[in-house]
Subunit: 541 residues, 2 copies
Amino acid sequence: MDFFFNQPQQVVDQVLGSLARLAPLVMAEPGSAMRILARADWHKQQVAVLSGGGAGHEPSHAGFIGKGMLTAAISGEVFASPSVAAVLAAIRHCCGAAGALLIVKNYTGDRLNFGLAAEQARREGLDVRVLIVADDIALPDAPRPRGIAGTVLVHKYVGYLAEQGLSLDEVVKRAQRFAGQLMSLGMALSSCTLPGHPIERRSAELGLGIHNEPGAHQVQPVDAADAVEIVLGPLLQQAAQRYGDEQRFIVMLNNMGGCSTQELAVLADEVLSRIGVSRVALMLRPAPLMTSLDMHGFSITLLPADDDYVEAMHASVAAPAWPGVYEPHAVQTFAVSVDSNAAEEVGAQDAAVAQAIERITQALLVAEQALDELDARSGDGDAGSTFASGARVVARQLHAAALSTGEPTRLCDELGQLLARTMGGSSGVLLSILFTATGTAFASGKAWQQALDEGIARMQHYGGAQLGDRTMLDALIPAVAALGQGLHAAAIAARNGADYTATLTHARAGRAAYVPEHALAGAVDPGAEAVARAFAALAET
Amino acid sequence: MDFFFNQPQQVVDQVLGSLARLAPLVMAEPGSAMRILARADWHKQQVAVLSGGGAGHEPSHAGFIGKGMLTAAISGEVFASPSVAAVLAAIRHCCGAAGALLIVKNYTGDRLNFGLAAEQARREGLDVRVLIVADDIALPDAPRPRGIAGTVLVHKYVGYLAEQGLSLDEVVKRAQRFAGQLMSLGMALSSCTLPGHPIERRSAELGLGIHNEPGAHQVQPVDAADAVEIVLGPLLQQAAQRYGDEQRFIVMLNNMGGCSTQELAVLADEVLSRIGVSRVALMLRPAPLMTSLDMHGFSITLLPADDDYVEAMHASVAAPAWPGVYEPHAVQTFAVSVDSNAAEEVGAQDAAVAQAIERITQALLVAEQALDELDARSGDGDAGSTFASGARVVARQLHAAALSTGEPTRLCDELGQLLARTMGGSSGVLLSILFTATGTAFASGKAWQQALDEGIARMQHYGGAQLGDRTMLDALIPAVAALGQGLHAAAIAARNGADYTATLTHARAGRAAYVPEHALAGAVDPGAEAVARAFAALAET
């Protein structure tokens, strides 16, 4: 299974059926075998705007139905024009005294079938016109350029004009000018696959239509910048010929189906850079707008940014697939506020606290190899070196008299900052959280033990571990709980807690959670061991 | 070149850079090496809503910045958490007296880095809270479910609450309840490819995180219906356990990156069918919302449809990537109006006209093989049989006295309908357009010749061919122009026009446009030949 489809012949009806159940639309009765969706809130007060064609271009065309855009859309099978009868039925359903405009992409099947339906409707007395869109510039000598993604902009513009209540004559006149000014060009890295067909990818091509026909040329873009250059080059050249070098544009970047959202953002960046932000009056949000199934490609459409056009693109619309527009601008930056503690002088010193820290750091440096060996049983064997690297940096600051050993709050802050910046690993961040949160609690007037409880609670909140999860908390929590009975009691509690972890064969947090039980049996958790050794060192002071 | 990227290390900056130039956002100065985007219109009046994490989830997270959703987003490298310093800088930029809530997906790196930044900000006196989202139900026994696509709904809900001006305490309380009720599950047909890495596709898996880690199980869906069943099954089972069988839901269908818009619509149809439209209170427009680069997969998120939640999802929002919501309903249909002429009785008969038609149809039946042979030189050799099939049907109706030979307008209509329905090919539609448009002109009071001119103009409008393009027009246009001098003159003009096509070696319309010149030299266009033979037959009457 390569694609999320059921039977190939179900695809189009499922696509339209889902939209008919989601959006405020009405659908031709299924028994008619006609695939027509129309606005449920349509009352024939303005010019009706109809479009359609083969399926496979989702969200075109039905996704653009809604007040301010299309009145209805008629769908054929994948890449096949709808029947004359279906187009006529849609016209009959939508066209009132104000008349109707059919927007048709320049492909023979669509021209003829929409055209005949229009003539039949006119024979019935309905005022129906057909606008043929031919925006593709891939084949400069072609007498009949294809209609491709730019058609979406025509939908928007004509829907806007109709919503303004203009006469059909006026709508047609303006729409013809608009459509005549559109320029589109597409490129794909590979062709698309029709539902039910085997995957056969062609290589990169420029100048594709939207029905998987081969492109005008094979190309070999080397990267995204090159790809955009290859597509924008001919577009800008033609634009310069038509409108001069100063023209500002409305720009559309269309995902042909297979680009990831990330790729599309990279392409958008290249498009903006190459055209120049100041020449892009308005850009649609890059999105899949006129796709060719899963084709891994994009198209760019340029249109002169007449005030009338810009206003039309900004106008509010109820069509769900309209992606919205941006007004591009230079990047606006804000200054990042630098670390507020960085420049502060060190605070008061306390010899006893300094001695305690000295002992703890020494103990952890001594323990490096033992902790690494413990860690090798359940992890990547670097717990000892991680704790040692933190200890080394703390010791260095201590020896440089750069720790405020006489001011507990500031000391907590300093340790929190140091460990976050230099110790690395999850344990560095967790210890930094412990010291930082403890310092905050201290500063708010809490007692040592309460402050530490608060710090531990924060470690647990962010780290997600509980007592018994085989982490350093198994030594730390009992140690802090015993602090009221003195440092020796705390050290004993830490040791007991650490030893208890050797009986825990099912780690629930940290990397040991992914290690088989037998590998853990009998081994003390290295984090808990480090805490036990630290408290033992502390108790000796 | 497999993807539209430049250097892998440029991807994230280009993604954010394009958005910074398109949307009304401010960006951390590039020199900071911090990737922060924030609302340009932010004035710290409400609770600030921050989120972020690794890149590769576009449009998450920056696409959801805007009034009513996120205040700012912090991005790391692809699939890597941003630094503590960057998160802290974002908090400092956005957090005012109302405080800030950080929305964090339940991955260790994000929890720790956002957590430490929050603690550092609290130490600075800022009221910052962290909400951890853990909506993935893929691993029912996991102590720490992952945060996946449901996080987007949290962004929307929290943004709505903040925009209402609620206190941080109230926002946190409600947001925790909301996040706790989310249930998400994902499936992919293949894994994703990191920028700069080779493509290595794993097979289909259920229960994926969003960082390309293997899913919980391998699966083998047979079609889209099966895929949705596999994903919705566990979700609905868990929903039933938590909320009973009657619960209505808010539903999100997320494109993980590689589904075409068409596939997504098929999946949406299956989701609606399987849950049942009446139980879906609200569904987001299916879209890429929380992607894993180009992963060809989808995830579904369910949330009980509390009134408060529904209202929040409906609330207007300035975030460009918010896809909008639908209120699903049963399909509403409209009756297709049947052909208005179908039931009409045949009109008056005229023997002379009937005889003329008889001769023309006979001439075209006689010409079948000759026209096929002419067509074989430039096309697929079926021009003769196409004209003959039309002639055969017209003759049959004539013999059944089912043509209104005494009423020119009705006759035109009848021929137009007959040829469209039965003759096939482009020429059938074009002749149908000719007769239909001519009939319309007739009915509006125009004379024969003017009416035919109008019909020909319509053929040209929809068919796109001009005189000299080597089509049936090359005989038809001169023949109609000569009608004023009688039928014989018209027949001679048609013959001359047809013969002239043998000198035209560059077809500009129809299928012959793709045929080399030497293949066309000396051969009369089969359509023009048919017209000449028809006029010759007409002149004999």
